[in-house]
């Protein structure tokens, strides 16, 4: 079976986020595989996860889902199915995976319930790009008749901020799209920042759409709270030391642009090691948005000391304080949650 196609199909559902899609595709792979032993099954799953990773431009969040499911399969008590045939066990794994995803879809409501108390009446909120859980929280606050107004960043290059603005305006929440470069200008008017996340990492930091780090730094400088919302399946066993330590980083990102004619040769990562021959000729106007986006990162890593609170379905956590402490146990705990 083609796991990547399955993954893409699962992602069509608006409610399904990459980690959940990964879990669903892996559990389908599990059902379709003809592995006769646990070892073979785990091997097949690892291969599936690898091909998903290879085909994705930004493997971080889907990797969180893959790791979670594979860890769950390896830790799954083999005697939990009474009939004890291996195909039964596989079916049980698939069932558990699907029920986990069903359960995981309720997490956003839980998070919204937790976070909505932090939204006071008449507050001005800054958010970044588009996030389902942030939308749910803002809409819940609106339902609770809290008069909020929202600034949303345009979030180049994907421009998803417009999507957020459309949805919020449709719901009747006053909303303004601001430029990514206008965040510092707007920050003084803002009461707090609230963002979603691609992944929450072991250091307590956050991986999110590019620009989140800028917002976090500006919020810190302006002494405004910076809240992050993350479902627990987005917790990822990863410890980035810097932006360049992320799995999504590749040599093409931030490489110095050579003149357009030589662009073909630069695309090979091996030859990009010698970007000495850059020349900023008069070709500036010919640079398109796509070209800019190509050399720019999709996600960035926000350090834990910039984040005030992480709202998750397992509770509100402080990133720099005790959340790392419970992080590890949380990971093991999560695999238990499946059962």
């Amino acid at each position: 079976m083609d796991i990547c196609a399955t993954y893409e199909r699962k992602l069509q559902d608006q409610q399904i986020s990459p980690p959940l899609a990964a879990i669903l595709s892996l559990s389908e792979l599990c059902a379709a595989s003809n592995a006769g032993t646990m070892f073979e099954l785990v091997k097949a799953l690892n291969e599936g996860a690898d091909s998903l990773r290879r085909n994705s431009s930004n493997p971080i969040s889907l990797n969180a889902g893959c790791e979670l499911f594979i860890a769950f399969v390896t830790l799954f008590p083999h005697d939990s199915v009474p009939s004890a045939s291996f195909s039964d066990l596989k079916m049980e794994l698939v069932k558990q995976g699907q029920s986990y995803v069903r359960q995981a879809l309720t997490y956003r409501t839980k998070i919204a319930e937790l976070a909505v108390d932090f939204i006071t009446d008449d507050s001005v909120i800054l958010t970044h790009s588009y996030s389902r859980v942030v939308m749910e929280t803002l809409l819940l606050a609106h339902q609770r008749s809290k008069r909020i107004s929202v600034f949303v960043t345009e979030a180049r290059p994907r421009g998803l901020g417009v999507k957020t603005a459309d949805a919020l305006t449709a719901a009747g929440i006053p909303c303004t799209v601001i430029l990514d470069s206008a965040v510092a200008y707007a920050m003084e008017k803002v009461d707090f920042v609230i963002v979603g996340s691609e992944a929450v990492v072991e250091s307590g930091g956050l991986i999110n759409a590019i620009g989140s780090l800028n917002i976090a730094i500006i919020a810190k400088a302006a002494n405004k709270p910076f809240y992050a919302l993350a479902e627990s399946y987005k917790f990822h066993r990863l410890f980035p030391l810097s932006q360049y330590d992320l799995p999504s980083h590749n040599p093409r990102i931030l490489s110095f642009q050579t003149p357009v004619e030589q662009d073909r040769t630069v695309e090979k990562p091996s030859s990009s090691a010698s970007p000495n021959t850059r020349s900023v000729s008069g070709a500036l106007s010919s640079i398109t948005q796509e070209q800019i986006a190509k050399n720019n990162p999709d996600v960035d890593y926000t350090r834990p000391d910039l984040i005030s609170l992480v709202f998750s379905d397992v509770g509100s956590l402080t990133p720099s304080g005790e959340s790392p402490a419970c992080f590890r146990s949380l990971f093991f705990f999560l695999t238990r949650l499946f059962l």
């Binding site: 072991e202 250091s203 307590g204 066993r237 410890f239 030391l241 810097s242 360049y244 330590d245 834990p304 720099s320 304080g321 005790e322 790392p324 402490a325 419970c326 992080f327 590890r328 146990s329 093991f332």
Partner: protein, 450 residues
Amino acid sequence: MAAPIASTSNGPPANTSSPQPSQKSMTKAERRELQEKQRAAKLAQAGDSNKPKAKPKADSAQRKSSNAADKTHSSVDASKSQAKDVAASAMDVEAATSKSRSLRIFSHFGLTKHGHTVKGDIHPCIIRLALQFSEFRICGANARCIATLTAFKTVIQDYTTPPNNTLSRHLMTHLSPQISHLVSARPMSVTMGNAIRQLKLEISGSDIDMPEQDAKDLLCQKIDDYIRDRIIIADEVIQDLACKKIKDGDVILTYARSSIVEKVLLSAYKQGKRFSVIVVDSRPLLEGKVLLQALTSAPPVSWTLSNDSLLPPSPPIPCTYALLPALPSLITEATTVILGAHSLHSNGAVFSRAGTALVSMMAKQHSVPVLICCETYKFSEGVMLDGFGKNELAPSHLFQTSTQVPNMEILNPLYDLTPPSSITAVVTEVGLIPPSSISSIPMALGRITL
């Protein structure tokens, strides 16, 4: 002292006994004169009584400090059958401690003593090990722990349970003097403490009904397992994890010498990563030279076949060696700081070779990530707030300073404490963890071994 206006009858008892005319009959001037006189007398008396008092106090303090520093020593020294040279060495130490009066506030660090004697039934291999410890021939938390455990294996094998005793009850009483002998040579490291605690647990849990040789073999097996699981394998996992954080073109800065950092750098190099290393070092131990030696003499990878093409041997790791004062100008070059640790405390503070704190704080200041490589068996349950509460002084006879100025003592603490705020991550065999979550690790390990 009574207020000047207060009536003189409030004076000290010694003065009130002197005949006094009724105050009311005195003039104001007279009264004042009397008061002044009394005050002067009182002062003189106080001065007199102070002087002799102060002296014994200082003396006793001095004696106390020299006693305290000498306590472990004298407890080891059997005073009963003291050979002459022993007495002489004891006097030397006495003289040394009285000379080091200026370091009194550091006397609790426990000066490492040399020329200690053997008391009781000490196994020869422990005696040899103690000498190696005190001469710093075996140095470093891992090396000392492995050496201690290996020596204990010999001790256990050579031990026979006396009649009417069981191994599980008696062996520990046999080991205790061996341990205290080692401690008298050099204060126990946290790693040794953890390992010995585990060994004690194993001994007390050993089966009474088991034949003695079997029980001893089992204990030796347990010791081997401990060394393998908690040190050797742990180091391999740490190597893997830390190597992932080293990329081509990186400049790794390290301080002094840690066995695990050395392994990490060498294995990253062996994996074909091309990076350079800055070794920062400092007196008195100058351990960085050893690391430099190991890194630069790493055998260049010979001609290798890869993708059907013969690759030439790569040059050794490019290294820069500098002393601590040069750190500020070098830290800007570094991309990652990788350091070792002596022990790690539950508040996330790292106890390591003196100078480590300086390096990591400087790195923090320049936002260079600081990685601490540390096995989980180095974790200590206590909380440590500074490097003064507990430390160790480098023995002056081993690390001679070039100039000996009379009345000047050199203070060489061996360790310092790095606050958790200046550490990015701790690389352990259970993964990379932020220093603030250190305390959760024993729980993650199920608290079976710590």
